[in-house]
Amino acid sequence: MTSITLSGVNKSFGANFPVIRGVDLQIEDGEFCVFLGPSGCGKSTLLRMVAGLEMGYTGEIRIGDRVVDKVEPADRQVAMVFQNYALYPHMSVYDNMAFGLRQAKTAKAEIERRVQDAARILQIEPLLDRMPKALSGGQRQRVAIGRAIVRQPKVFLFDEPLSNLDAALRVHMRSEIATLHRNFPAASMIYVTHDQTEAMALADKIVLLHAGKDMLKHGSIAQVGKPLDLYHRPRNLFVAGFLGSPTMNFLPGTFIAQEAAGARVALKGGEELVVPVNGGALAPGGAVTLGVRPEHLAPVAAPAAQTLTRPVTAVEHFGEYSFVYLDSGTPTPMIAKVAGDGGVKAGDTASFAAPIECCHLFDGDGIALNHLTSL
């Protein structure tokens, strides 16, 4: 039983500088959970609270059946991998990995066995006698992971573990962490990152956190769910905008009426689109925001129903696909991601279909309206 439960957790730095508000969260046994959010959203703080490094919060944290709010970090059966590795510079790789076990007075033979096992899994056996100074960034990260593995924790905590690596290595280590998760199915993992690709690639469950005003208004948690749930059914504008690259296009409009197929919306540009959501609660003429992802816009020859037609301001070619920048009438351009070179150039006027099932609608407060059908 190594589920992790956070109930009514709040934390402030100082008297009136809240960083975490109203977190209720359940992480299941063996689950890979990613805390995702912009900088300043408190995702690392939340992780460190689970680790026991951050005290002085209200609410309750349980690991398994045990309330751990007053338990020392070492006694929580958690292991943590730090962003800057935090290897002890004066100890060899072997000693770094063995240090925690020695502190726990583990038998020498057992230490040897565990360190060798971990080294084999991480392919760092030849490095055991080296000092951290003599290792590359990727090797250091492996040792840091090895130090976590040997403790055979019930929970692995990762604090932005790949941020200090270069792009190519990051992708490689990402897949290794995924492998690690498969190799230790019983351990739960919490992984903090600001990188949505990492989150999408690794997570069983994403916890997307608000920062700043949103946090004060709606609490820390923006949305919890499987990666594709957050991608396809964002609960509000923040979630919709945070996941996906380039980000979702947001087009201001007004609600006209609810129809059988969904809510009919008039955009600033003049088009009317139907979004398959329940707009029953909206007043006709009320301000709404239409959201549609760049990758869902499909080029069409001429304006028709459920299309958007705009002047092209720029085109970026990437070979396999292109980004077409369109004048949306707002300061932020609308972007369409199209295959090949897109067939248009700056100065043209182009039309794009916005498939009904890919459209999202947000009310005046930025909250997503419920879809009529589930996925």
């Binding site: 026991g52 490094l53 730090f82 935090a86 726990a104 403790r151």
Partner: protein, 279 residues
């Protein structure tokens, strides 16, 4: 390129000229000292001061070493070694608390201790003298250890606190997750990682205390209890006008540090600059 030929030419001349000039200013007094030690007392009066000694005569050194010089040396070594060990351990412990622990009055207390750096130690002289007599430690080399350690603490705590603040806090957190309490974190992680800071503190205070005069002068009185700087003072009284013999004492007392310096100039320079340069 843009430098005029004249500036460059002056530079080419001025640099070696000034460099050698100051070298002369620095070394001439030392040359005079060493040269004189090889002269007899008679010779030091009769011949010109700048004349080379008639023979390379070690009689003055032999004379000094046949006296209680080695007792002074032994006392110095003992007092300095014990003091420096205590200073390093005690100031490292305090520095760890200031650099890494959260408690009330942390900053105020740190400020107070650092302010101790500017207190003229002479104000403590009379009370410490009376206290030492009271404790029955007067005229014992051990009387020096307390004042030596205490007066060295402010700057040492300051240097080591600055140093330990640079140690990433994640290392401490990793150690906590590895099961270390505050004591294990200090002894197994912070103390070993503070090596360069500790050696700076050890070198700086070692040299300062090796040369310390006033406490030693006031708190000890017999030959058997006094340290090297007092050797010069006592010999000066004893030899009165035998300049070569007195300068032989000066040379001998300076020798240990000069020898140490020959082995680790960079470290000693850095250590002596401690507190005024970072690290």
């Amino acid at each position: 390129m843009a430098t005029s030929p004249i500036t460059r030419a002056t530079g080419r001349v001025a640099v070696p000229v000034l460099g050698l000039f100051w070298l002369a200013v620095t070394t001439v007094p030392f040359l005079f000292m060493v040269m004189t030690t090889f002269k007899t007392q008679q010779e030091s009066y009769s011949s010109s001061v700048w004349a080379l000694p008639e023979a390379l005569d070690f009689v003055n050194y032999a004379d000094v070493l046949s006296g209680p010089f080695l007792t002074y040396l032994k006392n110095s070594v003992m007092v300095v070694v014990i003091s420096v060990i205590l200073i390093v351990v005690i100031s490292a412990m305090a520095a760890y608390a200031f650099a890494r622990m959260r408690f009330r009055f942390n900053e105020a207390l740190f400020g107070l201790i650092v302010a101790g750096m500017i207190v003229p130690i002479h104000i403590t002289l009379v009370p410490i003298y009376l206290m030492t007599r009271h404790m029955g430690l007067y005229d014992s080399p051990f009387a020096l250890i307390g004042p030596y350690v205490a007066t060295s603490l402010p700057i040492s705590v300051f240097i080591l606190t600055e140093f330990m603040r640079q140690i990433p806090k994640e290392l401490e957190e990793a150690a906590r997750l590895d099961g270390c309490g505050p004591f294990a974190i200090f002894f197994k992680v912070f103390f070993p990682l503070s090596g360069p800071g500790l050696s700076t503190v050890a070198i700086y205070n070692g040299i300062m205390l090796w040369n310390e005069f006033i406490f030693a002068y006031v708190l000890t009185s017999s030959t058997s209890t006094r340290t090297l700087p007092l050797a010069i003072w006592d010999y000066q009284g004893q030899y009165t006008s035998n300049i070569p013999a007195i300068l032989a004492v000066v040379t001998l007392t300076s020798l240990p540090l000069v020898v140490a310096y020959a082995f680790g100039q960079e470290k000693i320079v850095k250590g002596m600059m401690a507190g005024s340069l970072k690290g």
